[in-house]
């Protein structure tokens, strides 16, 4: 009995940080409709800042003041992010906002590395709460009780704020109808900045308060992100009681999971989420989302055009040039170009669902890494040949996408994004935790190509053939009725249903197909590197594909190719610097704000600006009405 009480209390105290971060995310989303992916970074900053403050401010007062001041400092940082990054793009499609906040993650990661160094910091114990309390014959750190008290305090405080104060009621009103609140004379800018400060401060306090328990390290940002998304998806986006209940549920589940099913704690969390989603796709305390209530979709895409003769010529020239590379280029160039082609296939498969289908997946690494692991495991355990493994990998990835997609296509917009990210984390956690099979953190080594393909040039030609075929298939699919139906579902789901098209089925199929192709890219990758590690399943890998698509231009079929080339070369160059994430992050933010149509958009703009065969006739027609 005592055992259970202590376990429950431990779960409650673990829930505190999760609840603080999730409620902050929820509040920000409720008012601004932006899912702040950098919220985990605010949590991490809270821990680091509090650590530094505690070294300066000593004693009992100093400890608590540090937590509070860390919250304020992170709130101010959140405010800076809101003013500098998000304010210019509130009217942009939600994908832009998500990508911009990802840029913030990268910037904060490197700034934290710069300021606090790479080592994990061990938090100071809370003065007055160093000991343990005895419950029966069980022991509980007394600081756990403080955390429990803190989460109830914040819950009560938020309840008071949102129900009893004028500002809180305005925030709630803005959650329901932003325009109406604006029409009533409330300055929206202030409201947005205000909730951003509050939400960020909550994340900062969450990070600071768990310092005595968990310390501060540079992985905190991504580590908290998946559970926080799970919490808001389960609790319902925008609901604070929902965030509280869900944080509690997840934390208790973890605590008891460790006792009874230690191998599956990470998976357990996602199982609960899946069950909730089957019955209440909008979460326990959320409301069903109103169609079209998300951010604007941006300007409509131009109709697809058949490939012109010139384009065919250019493509043929590119293929010939790539084929000729081994005759003049060295090993380095061939390896680099193989990486470029694999990145392009990976990104094109993401573009298929994201660009054509409007399904913003933040977990595309699941199928990339999934395919890579499938190939590696097959070789490892059955000694299969490379050929067989490469054939097997896309089907395994497709199967994975079939399962993940079944849940995800029930949702749309930011919910879809969060859910795909969460599922990708499941796959990651399986690879990470299931050490006996996947090698855990050590990965799987010694996965080399068959003899005939083992030379650099031979493997380059293999990547070229398979990769370009995959890309060509994806491009071809865009022109089929299936590709059109996918775009149709994005343009107007209402119209699709009214002409007998099952939008969800189309989206699900597309998700599976994209997963298949992404798995193929993964298989090419694993034999190119000879090994696979859980890093290929990480959030950062999913973001690579997103950034490539984004860099190239979401609305262009060839965007992912342009983006893939530029991104891979850029990364190759940037990663030689210590603080390359900082540059990359700033670059992403800059692109989102300054070049919303990506590289292909810039190309089109240049062509329109400096002559060339633009659509003068069409423009003239449009002007004439």
């Amino acid at each position: 009995m005592d055992f259970f009480i202590v376990q429950i209390l431990t779960g409650l105290s673990n829930a505190a940080a999760l609840f603080l971060v999730a409620s902050g995310l929820s509040i920000i989303f409720g008012v601004t409709r932006v899912v702040n992916f950098s919220h985990g970074s605010f949590y991490m900053l809270g821990a680091f800042i509090a650590y530094s403050l505690m070294t300066v401010l000593p004693g009992f007062i100093g400890f608590w003041a540090s937590i509070l001041l860390a919250g304020v400092a992170v709130g101010v940082i959140g405010l800076i992010v809101e003013l500098g990054v998000l304010r210019p793009i509130y009217k942009s499609p939600e994908l832009f906002q998500l990508v911009a906040t990802f840029g913030v993650i990268l910037v904060i990661q490197d700034l934290a590395l710069l300021i606090w160094g790479p080592d994990d910091l061990i938090g100071q114990r809370a003065p007055g709460f160093e000991g343990v309390v005895k419950i029966g014959d069980q022991l509980l750190p007394s600081y756990d009780l403080v955390l429990i008290f803190l989460s109830f305090l914040v819950l009560g405080g938020l309840w008071f704020l949102f129900n009893k104060t004028r500002v809180g009621i305005l925030v709630r009103a803005a959650t329901q109808d932003r325009e109406m609140v604006g029409a009533l004379g409330v300055n929206q800018s202030w409201l947005f900045s205000g909730v951003f400060f509050l939400g960020s401060a909550l994340a900062g306090i969450g990070g600071a308060a768990q310092l005595p328990k968990g310390g501060a390290d540079l992985l905190m940002d991504f580590n908290i992100l998946a559970p926080v998304f799970v919490v808001v998806v389960i609790g319902g986006m925008g609901s604070i009681p929902g965030a509280f209940v869900a944080a509690l549920l997840i934390s208790e589940l973890n605590v008891f999971g460790v006792q009874f099913l230690p191998q599956s704690t990470l998976v357990l969390m996602f199982v609960v989420m899946a069950v909730v989603l089957i019955f209440r796709p909008w979460g326990l305390f959320g409301r069903p989302e109103i169609v079209g209530s998300h951010g604007s979709q941006g300007p409509p895409e131009a109709p697809l055009r058949a490939f012109s003769g010139r384009l065919w010529l250019a493509l043929a020239a590119a293929v010939i040039a790539l084929t000729a590379v081994p005759f003049f280029g060295g090993t380095f160039l061939q390896v680099l170009l193989a990486d470029v082609i694999i990145a392009c296939l990976f990104a094109t498969s993401l573009h298929f669902i994201l660009g054509l289908g409007g399904l913003v997946s933040f977990g595309h690494a699941a199928t990339f890494g999934g395919g890579a692991y499938a190939a590696a495991l097959l070789v490892q355990f059955s000694g299969a040949s490379m050929e067989l493994a490469m054939l097997f990998a896309p089907f395994a990835a497709g199967l994975l996408a079939l399962v993940i997609g079944w849940f995800c296509v029930r949702l749309s917009g930011v919910y879809f994004a969060m859910l795909t990210l969460a599922f990708a984390q499941v796959v990651w956690s399986v690879a990470f935790q299931w050490g006996e099979v996947t090698g855990g953190d050590d990965g799987i080594l010694g996965i080399w190509p068959s003899a005939w393909a083992s030379g650099t040039t031979a493997y380059y030609y293999l990547v070229l053939t398979v990769g370009l075929s995959g890309i060509a298939t994806l491009l071809f699919m865009a022109y089929t009725p299936f590709g059109y139906a996918l775009r149709g579902g994005r343009d107007s789901a209402l119209r699709s249903e009214a002409i007998g098209i099952n939008v969800r089925l189309v989206q699900w199929s597309a998700f599976i197909f994209a997963g298949f192709m992404s798995g193929l890219a993964g298989a090419l990758f694993v034999f190119a590197k000879g090994s696979i590690f859980p890093t290929e399943l990480e959030i950062a890998r999913s973001f690579d594909a997103l950034i490539i698509v984004f860099l190239g231009g979401v609305q262009s079929l060839f965007g992912p190719l342009a983006g893939g080339v530029v991104f891979t070369l850029l990364q190759d160059w940037l990663s030689r610097f210590e603080y390359w994430r900082l540059f990359l992050g700033l670059m992403i933010i800059g692109i989102v704000i300054l070049l919303p149509n990506g590289l292909v958009g810039v190309g089109q703009w240049l062509r329109g600006r400096f002559g060339g065969p633009s659509n003068k006739l069409e423009e003239a027609q449009e002007e004439a009405g």
Partner: protein
């Protein structure tokens, strides 16, 4: 002979009886207007007929087959077309491709890969665009069309699977007066030519009185009147509901000359 039989359709939201025991029949070649003041239950009726809303009670039979409980997709396959109050078209496709998509779906080709979508059913799509007078704009993007043209495009899309019944939710809303007359005249011609039944809701009484063959007046969820344009117009209870509609109902204000003309044609 009625091919659409609606019996005792009811729906309440909370304590409000949005639609209460509505029954109606529709014949082939008939243009039936469903009118009523704001909140009368027109849209609720429509959404129930099209499977977007489940009624509390009642049945909707199309050629004796029950529509209630079917998804909008299934109802579409059973031969019901629909246009929306705010047009719903594919902005990133050309006018032609919009119609082609409806045809591809009708021929169950959504999951096929060859030939490419834009090469499919072109003659059929062109014929539909000619029918609505949009053939000259076939290769333009739907996103650049004028609103009236979008409405025409939607009509072409809705006719792609040769429906027996066409549901049009405020077809003339948001259009210039001239365009309204044109669109309704076009609809009336199609009804006659293809011998289909059209049920439409409308706020503009000129449009209703000059084109509808029969008018059904809904008020507070119940049917107030059902009859020819003349009967409904002369009905004192209808006049009472529409008080403030002004001269629309009076002898002297029988609409524009054009309106009278069209009415004559529609009756013929």
């Amino acid at each position: 002979m009625s091919f659409l039989e609606v019996r005792g359709l009811s729906k309440s939201f909370g304590g409000v009886n949005a639609v209460n025991a509505v029954s109606l029949d529709l014949k082939e070649g008939e243009l039936l207007a469903l009118i009523g003041p704001n909140g009368a239950g027109k849209t609720t009726c429509f959404n129930m007929l099209y499977g977007q809303l489940k009624p509390d009670e009642g049945s909707v039979k199309l050629n004796g087959r029950e529509l209630i409980g079917q998804t909008p997709r299934k109802i579409w396959r059973m031969g019901v077309g629909r246009t929306f109050q705010i047009t719903a078209t594919y902005a990133s496709m050309t006018v032609m491709e919009n119609v082609q998509m409806a045809l591809i779906s009708h021929h169950r080709g959504i999951f096929s890969v060859w030939p490419p979508a834009s090469r499919r059913h072109r003659p059929e799509a062109r014929a539909l665009l000619e029918l609505v007078g949009m053939e000259s704009q076939a290769e333009r993007a739907a996103s650049v069309l004028a609103y009236g043209d979008l409405k025409r495009l939607e009509l072409a899309i809705a006719l792609a699977h040769s429906p027996q019944l066409l549901l049009m939710d405020e077809p003339a809303a948001g259009m210039a007066p001239k365009e309204r007359v044109g669109l309704m005249q076009l609809t009336a011609d199609i009804v006659k030519e293809r011998n289909i039944g059209v049920l439409f809701t409308e706020h503009d009484m000129d449009v209703v009185f000059s084109h509808a063959h029969r008018v059904l007046v809904l008020n507070r969820g119940e049917i107030l009147a059902d009859g020819s344009v003349e009967e409904v117009r002369a009905n004192p209870r209808v006049q009472e509901v529409y008080l403030g509609g002004g001269s629309t109902f009076g002898e002297q204000g029988a609409g524009s000359e054009e309106g009278v003309d069209k009415e004559g044609m529609a009756d013929a």
